[in-house]
């Protein structure tokens, strides 16, 4: 017969040791995160002023302390917006096909496979592809739009995967409830399935945006490079924040390196702001609100 036992000393020790290891692993994981944030904030704050946010680098000499990243901020915002406008509809519709219509057939399995392959495509390859196809082969010039194309290629698999996962989480019960009311399948998807998965889809899109907003390599080959403001993403070279950081950090002057830090800080802030907006939208649309 078994008896009720006290916790043995060896188990107590094991428990303590494992607990310690878990905390240690957590601390190790947080160290790089905190130190990156700390470095960027402490080095970037110096030049984080109105001039930086409202001026470009046009006419700024090699040793001048002023100048800003307005042209790069505009470029990044426009490129990311265009990339989202391309990749979100395509990605979302692909996810809807995979979940609602594919039924695990050959087409849906091969789409799934290629989405996985695309997830693994290095960002520089996306840039090279757009460079070779859009600029060399079709003969268009460098532009923000070309950059957006490259970013869209990188965004699409992330959007498909996250939207697919969110759509799969919507219970079959809800679809059946809608069918049983005599609602056609497409209306069920638009009015019941998508609203239910909305919060998760927004989060997924934001993750994808955050991922591509910091991409440097594909921009190098597509938007080219400029020091002046170009508001038109369809004509002429544009700038992007990651490119700005890359360019400034490579210059020998302290003033340029300061600008690079501030550029990095601005990029982080933009991504954080977008995340915040996404959370607000998610909260505003959340079904639990008002309970």
């Amino acid at each position: 017969m078994t008896t009720i036992q006290h916790i043995s000393t060896s188990r107590r020790i094991k428990d303590r040791v494992v607990q310690g290891l878990v905390y240690l692993a957590f601390a190790l994981a947080v160290v790089p995160l905190v130190s990156v944030l700390w470095l960027v904030i402490s080095n970037g704050l110096a030049r984080f002023d109105m001039e930086f946010l409202t001026h470009s680098m046009n006419g700024i000499g090699a040793r001048d302390a002023n100048g800003g990243a307005y042209h790069a901020i505009i470029g990044t915002l426009e490129q990311v917006l265009l990339a989202s406008l391309i990749s979100v509809p395509i990605g979302l519709l692909t996810a809807i096909y995979l979940v609602e219509y594919g039924n695990g057939g050959r087409l849906s399995r091969s789409i799934s496979f290629f989405v996985d392959v695309m997830t693994g495509v290095p960002s520089v390859v996306a840039g090279l592809f757009v460079f070779a196809f859009w600029i060399l082969f079709l003969g268009f010039q460098f532009s923000g739009w070309a950059g957006a194309l490259a970013l869209a290629i990188l965004m699409m698999p992330t959007v498909v995967r996250s939207a697919e996962e969110m759509l799969r989480l919507v219970p079959t019960d809800l679809r059946e409830a809608s069918y049983a009311l005599g609602v056609p399948k497409w209306r069920t998807i638009v009015k019941v399935v998508l609203p239910t998965a909305f919060t998760g889809i927004v989060t997924g899109v934001m993750l994808a945006v955050a991922r591509v907003a910091g991409e440097t390599a594909p921009l190098l080959m597509t938007v080219f490079f400029t020091n002046s403001i170009n508001n038109d993403p369809f004509n002429g070279p544009q700038m992007g924040l990651p490119l700005f950081v890359f360019d400034q950090a490579a210059r020998p002057n302290d003033t340029a390196v300061d600008r690079a830090w501030t550029g990095a800080l601005t990029l982080i802030l933009i991504v954080m702001l977008l995340n915040l907006v996404a959370r607000l939208i998610a909260w505003w649309r959340s079904p639990a609100r008002g309970r």
Binding site: R175, E176, A177, Y179, A180, T188, T196, P287, R291
Partner: protein, 259 residues
């Protein structure tokens, strides 16, 4: 309102697996018909063939005829969506739409099908449906709160209100009380007694007492052995089924000797 359903030699399949075989029966209007039988004998499958919900599952198909007041629901020219508008369904687990308020849940069927409806008309339909489902008094002050915030029993009555808001001819209920406590169950049984004045009601239940309490006619489903398709063993007036069944298997099941 309310129509008669006639089923003749109906088989239902999931892929190559035959789930029910050769079911024929008549379901009378303005009455409650109960399906009883052990788990896996095809009661729910058969219920879902009645409003063409069976084919929603990939690979599922049906052979045979289901006539609604003489019209074959499985004729090739029939639009399945319109069948489901006429034959509503309530599921085992309450499934209100989580993104919608109580009001929107009840209005969902009409809004999703017909688009814009004047607010005053919609208010009336929502109120009537909720009253019809005996839920109005409990929720009339919080129609804009999420439907998912209600208790299980209330959610199920909300689902019934949602189903009757589209004014179906027939109401199918797939074990509507299996997830509910006795008091909510009673509320729904009372509701069925009230609704059968207007609708043809078909209910699947595992609860023999419930079948005896609420139904006018009962069909007993069984399968010869595991893996074989389910069949209707016997169908008769509920009072006869429970006191003097013709088949030995029915008697054994009802008295609890198997199943």
């Amino acid at each position: 309102m309310s129509k008669q359903i006639q089923v003749s030699s109906l088989d239902a399949y999931y892929g190559s697996h035959k789930a029910i075989e050769d079911v024929s029966m008549t379901i009378e209007p303005r009455s409650v018909t109960a399906f009883i039988g052990p788990s896996g004998c095809g009661k729910s499958t058969f219920l879902r063939t009645l409003n063409r919900m069976h084919e929603v599952i990939p690979g599922a198909r049906v052979e045979g005829k289901v006539l609604l007041d003489g019209e074959d629901l499985y004729a090739t020219t029939i639009e399945p969506v319109s069948v489901r508008r006429m034959i509503g369904m309530v599921f085992q687990r309450p499934n209100p739409f989580p993104t919608m308020s109580i009001y929107e849940n009840v209005a969902a069927g009409l809004r999703l099908n017909r688009g814009r409806i004047p607010k005053s008309e919609m208010d009336g339909i929502v109120e009537d449906s909720l009253k019809g489902a005996n839920l109005w008094n409990e929720v009339k002050d919080r129609l804009n709160k999420p439907g998912a915030g209600l208790s299980g029993g209330q959610q199920q009555r909300l689902c019934i209100a949602r189903a009757i808001a589209v004014r179906p001819e027939v109401l199918l209920m797939d074990e509507p009380c299996s997830a509910l406590d006795p008091i909510s169950t009673l509320a729904i049984e009372d509701l069925m007694a009230k609704l059968k004045d207007q609708y043809t009601i078909v209910i699947v239940t595992h609860n023999m007492q419930q079948a005896a309490r609420v139904s006018d006619r009962t069909a007993f489903f069984n399968l010869a052995e595991q893996g074989k398709p389910g069949k209707v063993v016997e169908m008769d007036e509920t009072s006869r089924m429970f006191t003097n069944p013709t088949e030995k298997a029915t008697e054994d099941y009802i008295t609890g000797r198997f199943g």
